[in-house]
Point group: C2
Chain length 462, copies 2
Amino acid sequence: MSRVPDLDKLFSPKSIVLIGSSTIKINQNMISPTIFNAIRENLKEFKGTVKVIDIKDGNVKVNLEKEYDVAVIVLPPKETISSLRQIGEKIHFAIIIPGGFSDEDKAKLIELSKKYNFRILGPNSIMGVISSSIRLNTSFEPDFIPEVGSISIVCQSGGVGASLLDSLIEEGLGLDLSIWIGDSLDIDVIEVLKYLGKRDQTKTIGIYLEGVKDGRAFLSAIAEIVPDKPIVILKGGVAEASAERALLHTASIAGSHRIFTVAVRQAGAIVVEAIDEFITALKALGLKSKSMKGRSIAIVSNVGGPAILAADACFLYGFSTPPLSDEVYKRIKKVFPLIEPVNPIDLIADADYNRYIMVLKEVMKEEHIDGILLITMFRSCLTTPEDVKKIIEMVSFKKPCVIYTGGYGDLRKLMSVLPPEYHRKVVVVDDVWKAAFAFDVLYDYSVTCVEAAKRYMSSVVE
Amino acid sequence: MSRVPDLDKLFSPKSIVLIGSSTIKINQNMISPTIFNAIRENLKEFKGTVKVIDIKDGNVKVNLEKEYDVAVIVLPPKETISSLRQIGEKIHFAIIIPGGFSDEDKAKLIELSKKYNFRILGPNSIMGVISSSIRLNTSFEPDFIPEVGSISIVCQSGGVGASLLDSLIEEGLGLDLSIWIGDSLDIDVIEVLKYLGKRDQTKTIGIYLEGVKDGRAFLSAIAEIVPDKPIVILKGGVAEASAERALLHTASIAGSHRIFTVAVRQAGAIVVEAIDEFITALKALGLKSKSMKGRSIAIVSNVGGPAILAADACFLYGFSTPPLSDEVYKRIKKVFPLIEPVNPIDLIADADYNRYIMVLKEVMKEEHIDGILLITMFRSCLTTPEDVKKIIEMVSFKKPCVIYTGGYGDLRKLMSVLPPEYHRKVVVVDDVWKAAFAFDVLYDYSVTCVEAAKRYMSSVVE
């Protein structure tokens, strides 16, 4: 399938030509001067060469003197085909943003790509590619580049990808690449996945998928990558009605959701059911210490009620909150006699960072504890966001640690004082269920997924 | 149980005396000058008379010349008892904020309350009472009064209540009362519940509970209220470990979670499992048009992928997304030929408010549709928050409508342009699962809960 050795020139381009129009407007297919101008504006941030060609009327004339790694095209089908005919020899990749291409149009695109030896992302890619490190943003959204990080996302939907990226930015999470594959006329999710598997900057991969054409190849690609990098998949098209919409949306056959889920799990991927879970899973799998060998959690909290709800959520996810060892119990009791260090441990609402740090260091030593759920509420408590920052700085988190802060306001207060690096040390969530889910994903990856992937690969070889 | 005819003087007081200390500090029981000073500051906003008494040393001398509806007390047990002995005749209610009262202390409190005929909220109430309409805030949190509204919340935990209120404030939701019952030495959840059932300003009731002493009385109170006002319950103490913590926390015996859930559902309450669900349920039940008679949803969206995920979530909650009628299909197709109005309906990312309004008005007429899930993403779309505001203004929502906006950023953008009244017309959520859950709660209340409550009451009478 791959005629060009790899997709590096597409995802780490040095030069881009943008071809669109400040006059042509076609309703309902994302072709308008607004979108063209927005992309032009966004490409000003790109760390590389950019040339802009504005097609003023239907009479397309494009003449490139130099070669470009990528052409970003925002034109109607006829004009897209016409311009690619003229520049095909001078480009390596075309990102086709708009949708609305007929089968005939698509056949012509493929013909041109073969003739001139360029590859196509899209059509109907909608947002194209966002790369944080080189400040590349081919979407029409301003301020849409997250912090530089190690998560890469592949999306078959503009909207789902945009939602994800919006949340990533809000939470200060780091991104390597975000790729909208659109109709997968040429480059498809499997090829992108294989590329991400080899790309050093990417450590965690998230995929939103409505359907995949070659199931076996997809599963093999997953199984090969998973021992090195976790893969999280959100699949759309569970219901019959939504499968029908998926067919209209990206021409995907959703297939049986249950069969899909079982198959990708056997190949070692983590399957999530909601955008929320998607983000929580990506956050959890971005931890430096991903390793979680068992299902015992210690809950350390400054509030009683939320600690109880957290223990409930852990319990319903199949985790236990076993008692601390006698020695640790006694050592905590000696320093803080008014605290009753059963697990969940309530440090009481006036806990400061000293109380947290002492207890956390003790709990971190407990061999039978696999993960720590830290509850640090600010509302109704004397603990401050600065206290939590100090805790993260002063405790060495050798076991996965998830922090729950209470309401939306508390979460925002905490995030406003934490630098982006904290994401490598702890996972911060705004719901106790997300906390339990984060542990579930970490355990799943550490224990189940890697083994499953290896088993899958050996079964394929046999 | 009730010696005072009702709790009006406690929850709508005209005069308050705050008794605390700017010198006494006791670790781990929420007794400190910081807390006393914060409450004093908060009471400056109260629309009524406030007197502050600062106990400078252990030698408690309090002398009230006038009567006060409520005494808010932030003193250690000995000083609390001593001051109540001196002011008992002059007050109707005492809100005791701190915890740490021994059984002997508690016996003395009860003795005093009987002797002087005042009632007690707490001890260990932590935050006391917040009433939006009279700007009453006996908590030590600043800026902790939500918009005036019709939701009332009763909490057995400071932290859970604080989390809820934090989210209510962030989302601009309206509150009538928030009540922290603490250890329920005198006034308990049942008495408060009965009061809220009769209180005009309260239209929806939320309860966080770790345990209840008189189960039968609790169920009867629920069943009596539910036909008029929905009741949502979040229960802590599902797991054994958390039940143990609940016992330490508010001396509650959590009992069997399953039995509890079945029993309160039979009495007509809605049971939720997470703070998130709690808030979504309260939002949904605050709609003017709560009535939802069936389980058919129309999804109207400007993005394909999220519409598919939304249909999946609805499907997994047991809802269907049936096709539109031929007439409506044709009318939409005539105005917007490029749109394929199957359900979920994708209006395409360049939809403006005109396109939404036309389609929504048509869908609103469909008799076989019970609720509308409106997806209005901004990221990756040309729709704006102002468009959505216009939609809410121009469409008459005779059926429940839930709006999903995409990522956290999108949600905040939308909320920043919407006035508080919009909560009565539509429910805004940041997750498709919350959308499906909101419909589930609405259907549950409209169809199941009211009937269950009536059945429960008649079975009790027999």
